[in-house]
Amino acid sequence: MLKYAAKKLLASLPVLLGVSLLVFLIMHLTPGDPAAVILGPDADQESVQVLRTKLGLDQPLPVQYARYLGRLAHGDLGVSIRSNQPVSKELGSRYPFTMELAVVSLVISVVLGIGAGVIAAVKKGSIGDTLTMVTALVGVSAPSFWIGLMLMMLFSYYLRWLPASGRGGPLWTLAGWKTILLPAIALGLGSAATIARMTRSSLLEVLNQDFIRTARAKGLPERVVIFRHALSNAMIPVVTIVGLHLGFLLGGSVIVEQVFAWPGIGTQVVTAIGNRDFPVVQAAVLMIALSFVLINLVVDMVYGMVDPRIRYD
């Protein structure tokens, strides 16, 4: 297992390196001189030159990238142009909040998705099945930020049950739960829909197999057949997409955080884009992409644990 993990980590190194190169290059796509863009149209040539030197933009591109990598290796993500604070400090304090939102959304989407998928598969062809699948299809089709606004309108403005924005506190407090619930549902609903569809089709396939017929023929209660025999086998493809979705939820949080003024990386990115604070944008995109790669790595490991047929060697 450890050997497998080390091998996988080693194999993902080129991807990690590629991600850093791509993020570096994207930020150099900025038309014209980034220093001039940052300072705005009224800046004089001298200030532009000073900023160019400060950002290292006067060096050739490969040198800039090598320096960038060197700084990254030391955990130095650069300095925010607006606040003059180290980016690692600015984003580091917000990263746990983004992760918190993504993880709670994932839990909600897994519970809702697997629950709905199982009901739909077990009651295949019933009104409940049709209704669940139609809801799932609508769920994947609605933009998360709009779902967020609709939830906010209903639960915060009309019913006044939950706060409309901000983060009330850590998850072990009631205030913390009250503030995370709406953004987490808005973010997770699309994933819940995908997981529900996947669970349904995977479970239906397993339910048609011989060992299920044998289990039923042995006289096992249907509950045991479904939950112990069928579901554990049907979960293999579901685990893969659940893992992938944690990554997507991290990406999606950029938008949902904006709706609910959630103090995570997403809100920071959007503000930084508006301020043309490229070091912050660059670092935030890199942090989320690297998290995505590492999550996929962990999913690979979990996949092996869930399905013993997958060998580690």
Partner: protein, 256 residues
């Protein structure tokens, strides 16, 4: 889908005065006989703006997917057909693009290029490209060793001709299915970018941008933000259903 197309292309009939006709005396009016879906903060008809926005969304969605599919098909075909180092390099690039979750790559590209219609189409296109490349590579790999391809190679046909004439016609079915599903996610991505203020600029009635404007009026004038969201949802749903139907039609093995 037909209703949506009719709605979008009937925009000049629904709102002959154009998408930006303002009437400040009619600001934030609720749905009525005169304004079926109400008016926005500048007194513009939401129905009219939704119809014009439909044209815009469909156009941007289609062009983005065309960009993503075009590059993706080319990359996938070259990687699958030539194999070896070409495959390694191209698919390595695709892997890197796939390391960015969904919308994030598009946000990063638009953040760098600046907001605007063309940049959004490029960004959303690149976001979808890796999926096409992967699919096409897999498909090309599966047909590359077939007798009819080897026969064409033995006859001395040029590689480009073999790919275009003998391989493409046999792998296009899943690509078409993916394209129709990708239009749905492209429309969602475009709406998200516009919602963040990175998409089209006013007065283009982009649906995502309209929801963003409606945010401030959720308590007082819900219709400003609710209807554009419904329009996005129905359009995306339409393309998802179209994709599912095409898949069942073109590849019955995948029928669920």
């Amino acid at each position: 889908m037909i209703l949506l197309l009719l709605f979008a292309f009937a925009a000049p009939l629904i709102g002959p005065e154009g998408m930006d006709k303002q009437d400040l005396m009619m600001r934030l009016k609720p749905p009525s006989a005169k304004f079926l879906l109400g008016t926005d903060q500048l007194g513009r008809s939401i129905l009219t703006r939704l119809a014009y926005g439909g044209q815009y969304s469909l156009k941007v969605g289609l062009v983005s997917v065309a960009i993503g599919a075009g590059i993706g098909i080319l990359v996938g075909a070259l990687a699958g057909y030539y194999g070896g180092w070409v495959d390694k390099v191209l698919m390595g690039l695709v892997e890197i693009l796939l390391a960015f979750p969904g919308i994030l790559l598009a946000i990063a590209i638009v953040a760098a290029l600046g907001p605007g219609l063309v940049n959004v189409m490029i960004a959303v296109g690149i976001r979808g490209m890796p999926t096409f490349a992967r699919l096409v590579r897999g498909q090309v790999l599966s047909v590359r060793r077939r007798e009819y391809v080897e026969a064409a190679q033995a006859l001395g046909s040029a590689d480009g001709r073999i790919i275009a004439r003998h391989i493409f016609p046999n792998i296009m079915a899943p690509v078409i299915v993916l394209a129709s599903l990708d239009i749905a996610s492209a429309i969602l991505s475009v709406a998200s970018l516009s919602f963040l203020g990175l998409g089209s600029q006013p007065p283009i009635p982009d649906w995502g941008g309209m929801i963003d404007q409606g945010r401030q009026y959720l308590r007082t004038a819900w219709w400003v933000g609710v209807y554009p969201g419904l329009a996005i949802m129905m359009t995306v749903l339409g393309f998802n259903l179209l994709g599912d139907a095409l898949r069942d039609l073109l590849d019955p093995r995948l029928k669920t």
